[in-house]
Amino acid sequence: MTDDIHPICVERILVSLDSSSHSFSALKAAVELAHHYNASLKGVFIHDSKLLNLANMPFIREIGEYTAITREISTDGITRGMVVQSRWITQTFYKLTNQTGLHGEFEILHGNIHKIIDQEADNCDLLIIGKTGTNPLGKHRLGSTARLVFKEGKKPLLLVEENDQLGHPIFVLFDDSPVGWVSLETGRDLMDTGENLNILINEDSAENSRNVQKKIRSWAIEKQINIAFQVYKTDSFERFLDKIYQLKIGLFIMPYLIGDIKQSLIEKSLNKISLPILLIQQQACD
């Protein structure tokens, strides 16, 4: 039944970094997955052209995040700030990759962050970014860059929050669609021998639910793995999210689903779950 479905194939990983603690966790996750998949790792730091643009506007000033003091913005000041950031990030990238014996490549780029990530994503099999960046709005909400990349949905995307750590348990939000099965296979691929794969089924119809469970059981028997699954109706899905929202170690895999209800589930998951979230797009099935 599932012979023609495979987990995502990862040979090249791209991690986009900024100076946030989310980004640092993303780098650690990228290093770990590069080892798992034996993939190459490329790190990028993008000097945001939007910031340089600010300096040319006559009335734009910045306010110190900690001091609350208003300062004039200059091109030099912004550039120097970005150079300092990029130096830290470069050092940290090479330190972490070298420590684990990984040969990583790092590049500092200039331009619109989203556009450059979009371009660079064409050359990778997995994109990893911090769940939010240096946005002052809040720490757990999906950042603007992450949201844009997520909406683009070109490549499998791993979103990592500060202090997150890849590991176990692995949860897969299952949908009986090709991309749902790829997600399931990816979860199986990443799990350890003897471990349970936790499968969440969002199904409002009892009959459909039984059918899906049956399929999954057959799949698990065929693949000789242990599974544990839980069926949730759409309106009770948040109760599940409440239970796992404090977990910081593990992995939550979900397919990038189309449709209003499904979109709403994804939004809820993105906003509620602290675990690293791996989003798998339709293109992964191609």
């Binding site: 603690s21 910045e62 912004i78 050092q91 002052p136 750590q165 404090q246």
Partner: protein, 807 residues
């Protein structure tokens, strides 16, 4: 002429009878003797040990090699057995003043126990605190506080962003702050787009931005307050968790040490510190950095350094000590005595804390006894001052020399001083004692007890037996071959020789020890099962042979007539004196020619040695006494009208001592009387103004010095030595001298008065004064008196002639 009696062989050497020792071999002696004949010193040490008043420390004095240190150590050890074991001392961190660690006194054994308890507490505490801080309860509550803080912040920022959106503005994070920029549906406007806007629009945007900036500033100013509130809440939570986690462990220790107030205070301080610094025990993701900045700066967890502050530094652990400590510090440097604060290098700087406090000998001996070598102590910079300061203040304060002298002002530790209560024995020679007494006003206050060791003891039967036991004890201690009784007897005889007295025994144990070890060497070399008389004799001879190069050279010089000494014939105003050379522990005698010349003069005896400043004060004194004798005996009726000169011929190294004063008098009498002296005789002895011959030192060596020259030239039977009668008891002569005397080839005459001596030397009676004050004609005294009268008359005539001429 009076018939003088030469000494018999039994008067020349005191033999020790091996049969009187009471054993055949030292194997048979079980009893251990380490000291005897030192009643004065023993009583002083005991007095000093038992008197419990300040300043009653002991200065043990005597020449080196007496075994003073070992003896006082044995006294102390014996007393220490019955003394109470002193307290343990620990240093702990003073959390309020970390540069002033606290000293805590504990009953013996409790110091290390408390240290172990604290180490266990630290181990268990880490587990308990980790468990508490990793618990779901803690994590949930902590997360809730964080979330609450973040939500408050996010809420305001979201509102601000919404306000900005309404005004077509967006909030942007710059590398070092937050800015607002105009936007449209496609995103942030470029600078060109903004510049293309009308003046009014730009002004409006500017005002809107300023409004938002004000709002943002208000929000940002609130953030630290909320952050502080959140931190306070977390701190309270940490306290609650920490108290719960370690309260039981702490209470266990408090209960165990509830009788020790300072320990309770310390443990309560630890508890406070743990609660205050609970953050340090939170999991740090396995020590990995959690941000870019942390990763680059490599700042680690403070948990280890915090835990180190809780540790206990046991500087004195008397757990295994029975009684009081007895410490001998062989290298009494300032730091070895007072203690030190060591440092460790960290990131190129030197750091220290209370754990680096190291005890000195005074800490180790506190509550007991400390023995120090006075010379070593005084030769170490500031050790003496440090010792005195501690004794005067009655406490040990650890500070470096630099601190003590205010030479350095860098911040270092000043550990709390520890009360001092110990008894000190300084071991040194007498000179040091008297110098300290003379020049250091504090010394007599701090060392009130002098224990003066005798260098010799009486050789009686009781002491002889004890001495034999002492020898056996040394033999046993050094595990040498056993000595037979003849060998022991020879050791005792040699001891008397070293004491330079046939009625005394030498108490310098170093000499005895050395001879025993060397005798053992020769016995082993000769494969003797026991050390024999011959082995001991061989050891003595070898010691002399190793040291007598100079003696041999001097004797060679005499035998080759480079150094002129006659051992036959007669000469006027020329006599053989005897002098002694001391080279370290080796002494030897040598004959010296002394000559005298007289002429008319004003009654002066010129000591040429003194004139050229080669004669010491004692020698000069001897010559002046001699002059006094001349005046007293011969110049009662007439003026002493001679000028005499005396000299030690071929002496280039200076002369001191008055042992040649009788010899010089004989030479002078010979010159005045114009009577020759027999050159086969050598003379020693000092005189007083009455002409009595007095005892001198080194009599054995002097006799042997002359004997050696005579023996090498050939003994004639006419050669002999005149010695003071008072020196007869000091004779412990070599066997070859005794043999020569025994066979009549050499003689030793004791004399009591110069009249006896001059009679022997000249063969002419000295003559006694009759009732008219005249000496019998032909006697030496008559000849001298006549010559002096003649000289006086000639001088008178000479003066008259001069006077007449002048008139």
């Amino acid at each position: 002429m009076t018939a003088f009696k030469a000494l018999k062989t039994n008067e020349l050497f005191r033999t020790c009878d091996p049969d009187q020792l009471g054993f055949k071999s030292t194997d048979e002696i079980q009893e251990t003797v380490s000291i005897f004949g030192q009643e004065r010193a023993s009583e002083a040490i005991e007095f000093g040990m038992y008197i419990a008043y300040p300043g009653y420390n002991i200065f043990v004095m005597g020449p080196t090699g007496m075994g003073k240190r070992e003896i006082v150590q044995n006294f102390f050890k014996e007393k220490a057995k019955s003394d109470a074991t002193p307290s343990d001392w620990i240093y702990v961190n003073d959390f309020e003043n970390p540069d002033k660690p606290d000293a805590i006194e504990l009953p013996p054994g409790l110091g290390s126990q408390y240290q172990q308890d604290i180490n266990n507490l630290i181990d268990e505490m880490q587990t308990a605190l980790s468990a508490a801080f990793e618990s779901e309860e803690y994590q949930n509550r902590r997360q809730t506080i964080f979330e609450s803080f973040k939500e408050k912040q996010a809420e305001l920022f979201t509102q601000l962003q919404a306000d900005a959106n309404k005004q077509d503005l967006t909030m942007i994070k710059t590398p070092s702050g937050i800015a607002f920029a105009p936007k449209d549906e496609e995103g942030v406007l470029s600078a060109d787009e903004v510049n293309e806007l009308s003046e009014d629009d730009r002004e409006k945007i500017k005002q809107n931005i300023e409004g938002l900036e004000e709002q943002l500033q208000e929000i940002l100013q609130q953030v630290p307050l909320w952050q502080r509130e959140a931190q306070d809440e977390i701190r309270e939570l940490n306290k609650e968790m920490a108290n719960f986690a370690i309260g039981g462990l702490i209470n266990e220790i408090i209960e165990k040490y509830n009788e020790h107030k300072e320990i309770i205070e310390h443990i309560e301080q630890i508890q406070d510190q743990i609660v205050e610094n609970a953050d340090a025990f939170l999991s740090r993701n396995g020590g990995e950095p959690s941000s870019f900045l942390e990763a680059v700066s490599q700042q680690g967890s403070g948990q280890k350094s915090l835990l180190n502050q809780f540790k206990v530094n046991v500087i004195i652990d008397n757990k295994d000590l029975q009684g009081a400590p007895v410490i001998f510090e062989n290298n009494p440097t300032y730091a070895n005595l007072i203690g030190r604060v060591e440092h460790y290098a960290q990131m190129g700087t030197l750091r220290t804390d209370f754990r680096m406090i190291k005890p000195g000998a005074m800490h180790k001996a506190n509550g007991g006894y400390l023995i120090l070598d006075a010379r070593k102590l005084l030769s170490q910079a500031y050790s003496w001052d440090g010792l005195k300061r501690a004794l005067q203040s009655k406490e040990i304060e650890i500070e470096s020399i630099g601190q003590a002298l205010s030479l350095i002002s860098t911040v270092s530790l000043r550990p709390e001083p520890i009360p001092l209560n110990l008894k000190i024995a300084l071991v040194g020679d007498r000179l040091l004692y008297y110098l300290l007494l003379q020049y250091d006003p504090d010394f007599s206050e701090l060392f009130k007890v002098e224990a003066d060791f005798e260098t010799e003891i009486e050789w009686d039967h009781k002491n002889q037996v004890l001495y034999a036991k002492l020898i056996a004890s040394i033999i046993n201690k050094e595990s040498t071959k056993p000595f037979n009784n003849m060998a022991v007897a020879r050791l005792i005889e040699q001891s008397a020789r070293l004491a330079r007295d046939s009625e005394r025994l030498n108490t310098k144990l170093q000499d005895l020890h050395q001879l025993i070890v060397e005798s053992d060497y020769w016995a082993k070399k000769n494969e003797h099962p026991q050390v024999t008389y011959n082995d001991v004799q061989k050891a003595i001879d070898s010691q002399i042979k190793r040291a007598d190069r100079l003696r041999e050279k001097i004797q060679e010089s005499i035998l080759r007539d480079i150094n002129l000494i006659s051992t036959e014939g007669e000469a006027i105003g020329q006599i053989n004196g005897l002098s002694v050379y001391t080279l370290g522990s080796f002494m030897f005698g040598k004959p010296t020619r002394i000559t005298s010349k007289v002429s008319l003069g004003k009654g002066q005896v010129v000591d040429i040695e003194r004139e050229v400043e080669m004669g010491g004060p004692i020698h000069s004194k001897g010559v002046l006494i001699l002059e006094g004798f001349l005046r007293g005996r011969y110049a009662q009726d007439i003026p002493l009208s001679l000028s005499a000169s005396l000299v030690f011929e071929q002496s280039y190294g200076g002369v001191d001592g008055d042992s040649a004063s009788s010899t010089e008098l004989y030479a002078l009498l010979s010159s005045i009387a114009d009577v020759p002296i027999k050159q086969s005789i050598a003379v020693t002895g000092s005189i007083n103004q009455f002409g009595q011959v007095q005892a001198i030192g080194g009599v054995n060596e002097k006799i042997e010095g002359f004997f050696d020259i005579c023996a090498k030239r050939g003994l004639t039977g006419d050669q002999f030595v005149l010695i003071p009668k008072a020196n007869v008891k000091h004779l412990m002569l070599r066997q070859d001298v005794i043999n020569a005397v025994d066979s009549g080839k050499f003689h030793i005459y004791p004399v009591e008065h110069v009249d006896e001596g001059i009679e022997i030397l000249t063969g002419i009676p000295a003559g006694s004064k009759d009732k008219n004050g005249n000496y019998p004609e032909g006697t030496i005294n008559a000849l001298v008196k006549d010559r002096l009268e003649e000289m006086a008359n000639r001088l008178t005539q000479f003066g008259k002639g001069k006077g007449e001429n002048s008139d």
